[in-house]
Symmetry: C2
Subunit: 456 residues, 2 copies
């Protein structure tokens, strides 16, 4: 491996220039005007993968933007590793807050600033450069490789679960490696082993058939906005626990070992509060902040509206009130079961004075990967060696549906080798990627492939 690591060390400048080429494509998947840029970027990626030594590279048609797929299966009998990433990026607005044109990368303070640097072109590119080093020095990587880089991760494309089901055999692999998450802090290489799931709902309560005068009707006609407040408030008890019947039945409790390990993580609640400008945190009673956000379900109103919301005052008793709310799920809750529970409970709560419309926008199941898994062990050792720091095991409060899809459809527990940092400004102006993480990520990817073989 020393040769490989030296190759990477020597190639830094070229790798960076190649990444800059990749970043120049404004591959914004959610804006239809960038459709041609998406295709140009995908084609560039195809050619680049060919250039590092893989012949079988294809564009896979999807309901949205094409996915780039590649495979090298030249090691019969050896395990197969699937590497996932996405070449599409977030929109750049507000563009006036950027220090540079978001698609004209700028190097500053050992960071590369451009849209997509950390999320996810830069992270994805690490694996290509690791593979290149194996092909150039050894003629081949240590195991069979499949690459799957989608173009609709940032565009709420709903088709991916079906797409993976339809391409189950093509994507089949023994291990999955994903770099699309970030470190706990700048000094802690982080392996994420659990993601929360989600169920996102919208409800509308309709009371009287028209807006009423709140003087002439207030106190006699039930008010949808007041009822909505009551109803939302019924969903949690005073200890912050969700009151939907049977909601916690399948929740895997945080293990004693996990809770101990969270305590040792460098999480400073005071700084956390300061960053958010809040005087205190709040959530389910009896759990620490990290435990709550990583390992416990949560229910949040995402939006609500009723009646008169412009400037000034209007004495209206509104005809309707709506709320969007989402529930974050943890292993082993079934998103589908939760949807049924929520619908049933909301219907039970709705009083006879109101008509209810209930709608589930989307669901995503939670993921919990056993740390006792060759890919996770290899990931740990690779990151430790590449970055010279002890990695930490973290969970993530958000949801990455494709991770759950890989786990449930491909039956392959994914290893999440996060290479981003908390200050990368993903989805915001001046997105950036630390160059130490870029070069270290290439090494970590190469080391991972080497070590994975030893752990099997």
């Amino acid at each position: 491996m020393e040769k490989i690591l030296n190759y990477i060390e020597d190639g830094k400048e070229r790798f960076l220039n190649e990444l800059i080429e990749f970043l120049k494509f404004p591959s914004v998947s959610s804006l239809s005007k960038h459709k041609p840029d998406m295709l140009a970027c995908a084609n560039w990626l195809v050619e680049h993968i060919k250039s590092i030594g893989i012949e079988d590279v294809r564009l896979l048609e999807t309901e949205g933007n094409p996915a780039v797929f590649a495979q090298w299966l030249g090691q019969p009998g050896a395990p197969t590793l699937l590497i996932y990433g996405h070449y599409d990026v977030q929109p750049v607005d507000p563009v006036e807050l950027w220090e540079t044109d978001p698609f004209e990368p700028l190097i500053k303070n050992n960071k590369i600033i451009a849209r997509g640097t950390a999320d996810d072109k830069g992270q994805l590119f690490c694996h290509l450069k690791a593979l290149e080093s194996f092909f150039k020095l050894n003629g081949k990587p240590p195991m069979n490789i499949k690459l799957f880089f989608e173009g609709d991760e940032e565009s709420a494309g709903e088709y991916m679960e079906d797409f993976i089901k339809d391409n189950k055999d093509l994507l089949a692999a023994d291990y999955v490696l994903i770099s699309d998450t970030e470190w706990l802090n700048d000094n802690s290489p982080s392996i994420c082993y659990a993601l929360r799931g989600i169920a996102y709902f919208e409800i509308k309560l309709t009371g009287p058939n028209r807006d009423l005068h709140s003087g002439s009707y207030g106190g006699v006609v039930d008010n949808p906005a007041n009822v909505l407040c009551w109803l939302i408030n019924q969903l949690k008890d005073k200890y912050g626990r969700i009151t939907i019947p049977n909601f916690y039945d399948k929740v895997v409790p945080l293990s004693k070992e996990e809770r101990e390990s969270f305590k040792k993580l460098p999480f400073n609640e005071e700084e956390y509060c300061k960053d958010l400008a809040v005087d205190a945190l709040n959530g389910e009673f009896g759990y620490s902040a990290l435990e709550r956000v990583w390992g416990r379900p949560a229910l949040d109103v995402n939006g609500m509206i009723s009646g008169f919301t412009q400037e000034g005052a209007k004495t209206v008793l509104p005809t309707e009130a709506s709320a969007k709310f989402s529930i974050r799920l943890v292993a082993n809750q079934s998103a589908q079961e939760i949807v049924e529970q929520v619908e049933k409970y909301i219907k039970t709560l709705t009083p006879p004075t109101m008509k209810l419309e209930f709608f589930c926008h989307s669901i995503g199941s939670p993921v919990l990967v056993s740390k006792d898994n060759p890919a996770i062990r290899a990931c740990y050792e690779a990151m430790k060696e590449a970055f010279g720091k002890e990695p930490v095991f973290i969970r993530e409060g958000g949801s990455i549906p494709i991770v759950e899809n890989f786990q449930s459809i491909l039956k392959t527990p994914p290893a999440l080798m996060g290479l981003g940092l908390p200050g990368d400004n993903i989805h915001s102006p001046n997105e950036n990627f630390d160059l130490n993480n870029f070069y270290g990520g290439i090494k970590a990817s190469a080391l991972f492939m080497d070590k994975l073989l030893k752990h099997i």
Copy 2:
């Protein structure tokens, strides 16, 4: 009085044509483009009052549109009656739902359709025609008369209380007569003897300093929208009672006699629900619908907004949440005291996770007039004779601040001789005024002046 009533009977056609002239002015006080129309309408009213026999007619300057004032004080020693009304009207939108140009009156099914017919030009005009009949036949009305017709009743002009204070002597009277309310139903001439007051608030809760990702922060950072729901819900108990400390201290309970009289009123809860398309009513436990809306305080959310309210889903934990809510007050609650109580309670409720902004938009005190009052007795007899039906005593859930101003500043209990009907569509398209009520209203006004003298 027979001659007077015959004069009115004979004058119907001309009175209607004169009302049509009055209605043609688009005197929409809340739209600045109608400023010249307001003035033209006020001037027309001045000339018309002169034409019926009163010489001292003036335009009073206000902070908004001019008020029309007139006085005839030719009966030294006799009591003075102040008649109040307003010549301004509501906007006409949505104009496409009108059967006629809102300012080109249409006669149909014995109703006159136009903006301002019932609210309040038509009702106001009844008194002018009653006065005219006295001047023409007797050379003078039975008592001293002051007329006060404002031009900002529909425009939320906030200056009227101060204006009345400043013009206390000019407006001073022994009795006040107002026709700006409506009947309980088409067959019940109604005298309103109580109005609810109002205190209208807006609160904003701010949690984190920016919108957060509900996955990465949900369960650890308190959510302003959830907290707002909780807070709003804390303002009432499960019996529908308002929980603000000391809130009910000064409430005058509904008397046994009132509750009995309400029961006898022709109020059909089933039809009421059907009209609103609700399956059930709701409000304070232990009170009937009429008792609640007329004689008990109520708290209603008038509007609320937080987070993402457009189509679709966004996984946001919002930075803030706001609500407008108003409390209807009953005698003898002091609106100012209630504002203090509410502010104190909301501050107590606000948790340390939130910053609170609290604002009171407006207040208006409640009114309760003793029915044992010469003006009310005269009103009762006049309406009974004019309409040939037993009048009913009602209260009103809404607030008419000027009524309270007359009572508290002029120390004059107002008689509310309502001439509108529930189907008049005031503030809505196709506003109309029943011609029987118009002609009957003229007679009722004349009879009122005659009978008031006998009751003193």
